[in-house]
Symmetry: D3
């Protein structure tokens, strides 16, 4: 089971300018083959399908608790896309005859505006849907761990490239954070593989071999020690993570790897306003007020 | 963010007999167009993409908290499939030349044994992968709620049909529970639609119009009042659910709708044993023992 | 524009026995790459996209009017599938706990019973959806005609094979008819190609080179002269078909090709009864009666 | 069966300027998840698969006759795309070395020019093919009607957005007309649902809640009463539509709903000229003349 | 460029009995995610896309020459499927009315008989087409090598499982050979990774950790030293393979790794006879004779 | 089996300017429905699946040897794409914070830079993956040959259009060559069809009916006689090609068709340099040097 917390894992800076083009490339990190939907669902299904949970408890717990973090990554990427999209249409008129969505016709990521109402979707940067074929859950622990290690390296390559495609500060803050957290997962799977097979996988890191510190928004999170922390993302479970997550960090500023109880402190979920030309959510001030009054809640109007 | 609890939402009965054929049809309820991957991801993305969260707070919270329950449904279906698959191969030999996976050749759900190591995958009953095209997140609240209501009705049709396809007690326990919980979500979206539009949607329920009480494994959960409860699935958030979830239940045994703090009490996650002919997880007793000793955990050997 | 007639192109014999297996293979002729959805949509889009309609009028009319016939083929195949499926489930009980859909678990075409309520769907024999990638509309007339000729030959191969897979009399009646009508279209495109390029395409027919007369259910329709008739499928339009469709028939019993005004006389559309275990359509006798009374129509009860 | 009429449902205005970008977004209304291929095929298959046709005759007829109208919508959208594409390439030369298709390289809808010869295809605005997975035909009448109602609302959202993306008068004329006709279908399914379940679905309309009258090209058709008319699209059949389609119109200018015999009067199908650089259709004037002479038809040269 | 040799890499034993069921599972090894189409195309595209070929020559040559071997693997798997399918239909009659393809209706791999004429296709065991999404070509050498190593391990898991699903001697001979050759490629990529990163990847092998020697048909090829040989598959190129492929073999019977010039000696390509009920190839003896005479070749009749 | 030669079939001119837009449209000729992946795989599978190889030897050899040429076409298109992409990113900095991939955000073919590291992929111009559904291998020789003839005509249409979309000299050199070689294959299949059926297919050529000579880069290769040559692409096999490939050429400058032993002389494979901002291949000069020294090869540094 899962419990939800109405917070993001970090605070995402608000943009000065709408930036739909950056939203378009960040979609690859959401619904692309190496996007967060892939990491989430791979670990989720592997945790469901894990055999001999008791006999291999620390390995099971590692995959199970990382799954919980990945949910938050999907959430974080989606919110980043929404922030980048926000305000990118409209011309001061709500009259359809004035073509208030005219900007969309020339964009590469029309899907964000046609199927979505100026929002994120589980598709890649070309609008192709994420698919269950991206999930590998073979049941063989070494094969699954090897896959996960490879997946994190492939995902890192993609994140690094998308970082280089945009100067958008929200997108970069997202990617900086994800680079550091993704490296944590790469190290975690490397250590697990090493425990089982004796192969010194960590020596291969980072793939590609450019340090997180070269990305200013990643450096920030390494300086906070985020590269050394593995969160349990659970109230009472997954207490054996420290059987694998221990010793000095193989990447980033020196220090000991540590298991952290619970979740990161987190940041606020952005509350983006209505977009009349998208009919999202499709109410005017009076209707908001009327609903708020009838259902007796504080709508902040 | 999400936190994970190492429990299922209910206890799933262990099978007396392996039943791979039932596993094959239950896959439709996992990765089919109307499976739990679809309900999960629809509500998850709608909650990320919700605009005017403050102005429409109870609606946002409804979708956001149901998302958390859906994660548990995906988990529950996956575990049911794994229980049905367990033990369905093998002939007493671990010698590959003795063809210990011979049973698979005649099965319709070979994917559970070839790509998966006798385990669940995010695909439908024919092995086609779940796809992001199953997600509808238009940004227009009425359109999204209408979709969700339709989705729950379509999902109910599928669950009822799969129930009728199997006599397997684990599969039926799963479906009985999901029928009741799915009805809760259908009622929730109907009530939300009713609050916004004034249309008496609940009068349409159930779709198809056969009561849950006709399914003995659903009746059990209705008699426990599960049809009246909406769990918050959160420690501190989603406190406005009762603005929508209130009044007498429109379906099932009479009573008042109630919001329940936290999660269901839950049941144990099955710990299925190794399947040598699938190389899942790929260790023998000595290797388990050696790992347990080296990493200092209790492996129950 | 199109007008609809509440009739099939031929009478389909009722089955003595349900035959879901034959339904499963006939699905290939509906939604497979060479199924009727493909012929329909190829000609439909080519007719929409035809350039220089006036300058090449007879060619435009040929493709446009054949499109109308193809709608009827899709209808005919769908009804055949439904007839084959009818009655294939149920055990005398409508109690879900008695598993009245138990038969489905072992079938290869579960989709007909899970997504469909014992009915046809636009998918192939493995349940894969028909896709717009099956449409070729290049705008180049010779290329399009060559494609259509190839498509009809490929479709004929498939029909001949499916005929050989089933002894079902309804399925064979369908295929016998389609073999003859498909040959008409192959000849039509061959003649059109011949008019434009001078190549004697008809000499290649039939592909594969086994005469329709070898299939008893096709022979029946050839003996009725169906291989020589091209229907206009229009009240007032497509009057130039005889510019291309003329001369002696190159295949089947000797005779002159002739353009027939209007449509075939046609046969009755089967009215299959309700299937309670599929919730299709989901009413009992009393509800039928009540609706019939309230809306004042003759329900034949 | 179907008969074809060589007319469009309305007259489409000729463009002053080629507008391939608008063609690109209108493709979503053809082959997108909520495009006309989806409405057509959903109703077509539901009409084929309808069980208890006699017992539920008016409902069967409603779905069956709307199918016929939808064919005309697919035709109308395709012709609009072709009009928008027309003339968008070429530089006065037919010499390939002069790169007369140079304009295409920078376009988002290259598929219209590469696979198509400057014409419409059954794909969405990103070139992804329409798929049979977009069809819902469950056999349960309430579930199917609910789906259809939801589908029309989703389709309306998309049409409104595309309208706002373009100032093209042909595209807007198309969408204005489709908004009005789509609303007719939404009302039709709402009334059918209301007859069966007693739920006042019409109260929810329009979704999204912006009147057609706000779109000048839709207002035109409402002022002609098109929002009150349901065409039979048949010579002799579907005579019970007035059992459901009756009473005052719930949307648009006041008046009584009326069933209209036959089809709309309709407009002329555009006859677009050859595009040498696309080899569409691939003839020069002399070849046209030669064919016209040999086959004895009036080619208007 | 490539040159072709009209031989298989090994001799495939002829079957005593048709075995379409084994053909169905072996299809996974052809067109499945981890089938030979995937290994072929991954290495082929990586070899085309390799940057700094001169600076990293031995690595380029390794991937380039393995590509050539993979073509032969695709050929070998296809021929095995064809051998398993051969003779699986027919009832002594070539009269379509006698239903000589009746056997197919109950099979899981109908595609081999409907789309194919009793032959292999680039699809997986469920008939889903192989797709270019299975190709990973990131341009980063370590990431690509890591992928290739993971791919070979995943492919090995699948081969081992399919081996255990069939007792068919042709299928096992194929898989035995592929297990040994696949291990050669796994070792090759492990050694390449080790040269670049210093990580002792070979220590992880085999994945899954069951020796090839446990599979009698693999043991045969190991005893012939096939696990130690890397063929150049080229007349004059790829002469630096021994910079990486050297030292003692890390798996299988002890010995030194060796680069072999040219190709394996190879075996005969089976020449399967006509299948009249599939119209494959669609000629009778007289027609064969007539063609042979007219084109003056020895047809062995 | 296949042997590889480290050469391209022709020399590709180096570009003066990067031209990612042309790379984007050339992708259609690689992974599109009518791209070289399609011709390759169709002929490859048809050659594997050919029945009665001895009885129909010249036909088998024709398809088998053309397969080998097609591998080289895939290689040639991939290299052209890589040449067009080369140098299209970067701003003099290798600091990720300077956004050295900024150019990509506005491109239509982002996949070449995100999934690929500035390189070709088996996808079409919109990034959709090539799929095995593009392969037709029916087993019926006439049907397969007819398909191949149609495929070559469709592929020619596409090549001609892409030629007209770009002024890039590398892309045009590629397409000029492919137009001539594709015509050879069209003629080959036409002649084979003519031998079997007596239909004068060659009279239809070229489709579309614009001579290769109108494309200056194709004219060059026709003037070299490339339109008359069929290469054996084999050392010792396929010696009966001249049974079909004989007589005067039906297209291009007059002359006799001739079978050529072996392969074309060929051209150099481009060795593109590292792209640091893509981490392709991910080494700096010192690392290159170190590897070269350790593995003892000449790296040209």
């Amino acid at each position: 089971m899962f419990k939800r917390i109405d917070k993001l894992q970090i605070d995402l800076p608000k943009l000065q300018q709408p930036d739909p083009e950056s939203a378009g490339v960040v979609q690859e990190l959401l619904g692309g083959r190496f996007g967060e939907m892939s990491t989430l669902n791979n670990y989720m299904f592997q945790s469901f399908n894990f055999r001999s949970k008791k006999k291999l408890r620390p390995f099971y717990e590692l995959i199970a608790s990382i799954t919980a973090e990945e949910f938050g990554h999907v959430e974080l990427v989606s919110n980043t896309i929404n922030l980048c999209l926000d305000g990118s249409t409209g011309n001061g008129s709500t009259n359809p005859d004035d073509a208030p969505l005219k900007q969309v016709a020339g964009m590469g990521n029309k899907f964000n505006f046609m199927l979505g109402g100026q929002n994120a979707l589980p598709v890649d940067s070309a609008g192709k849907p994420w698919t269950g074929d991206n999930v590998f859950s073979s049941g063989n622990l070494v094969n699954d761990l090897l896959h996960n290690f490879y997946l994190e390296c492939g995902a890192r390559t993609h994140k690094m490239r998308v970082y280089e495609m945009t100067e958008n500060q929200t997108a970069r803050e997202l990617i900086g954070y994800l680079l550091v957290r993704g490296s944590v997962h790469a190290v975690a799977y490397a250590k697990a593989l090493e425990e089982v097979t004796g192969v010194n996988m960590m020596k291969m890191l980072p793939v590609p071999n450019l340090d997180n510190a070269k990305f200013s928004h990643a450096q920030k999170y390494e300086s906070l020690g985020e590269h050394r922390k593995l969160y349990r993302f659970s109230d009472d479970d997954y207490t054996l993570l420290n059987r694998i997550w221990k010793g000095p960090t193989p990447i980033g500023p020196a220090g000991e790897l540590e298991v952290v109880d619970g979740t990161p402190e987190g940041g606020e979920i952005p509350d983006l306003l209505e977009v009349p030309e998208e009919f999202a959510p499709g109410f005017d001030e009076e209707q908001f007020r009327e609903l708020s009054k009838r259902l007796q809640y504080e709508a902040g109007l």
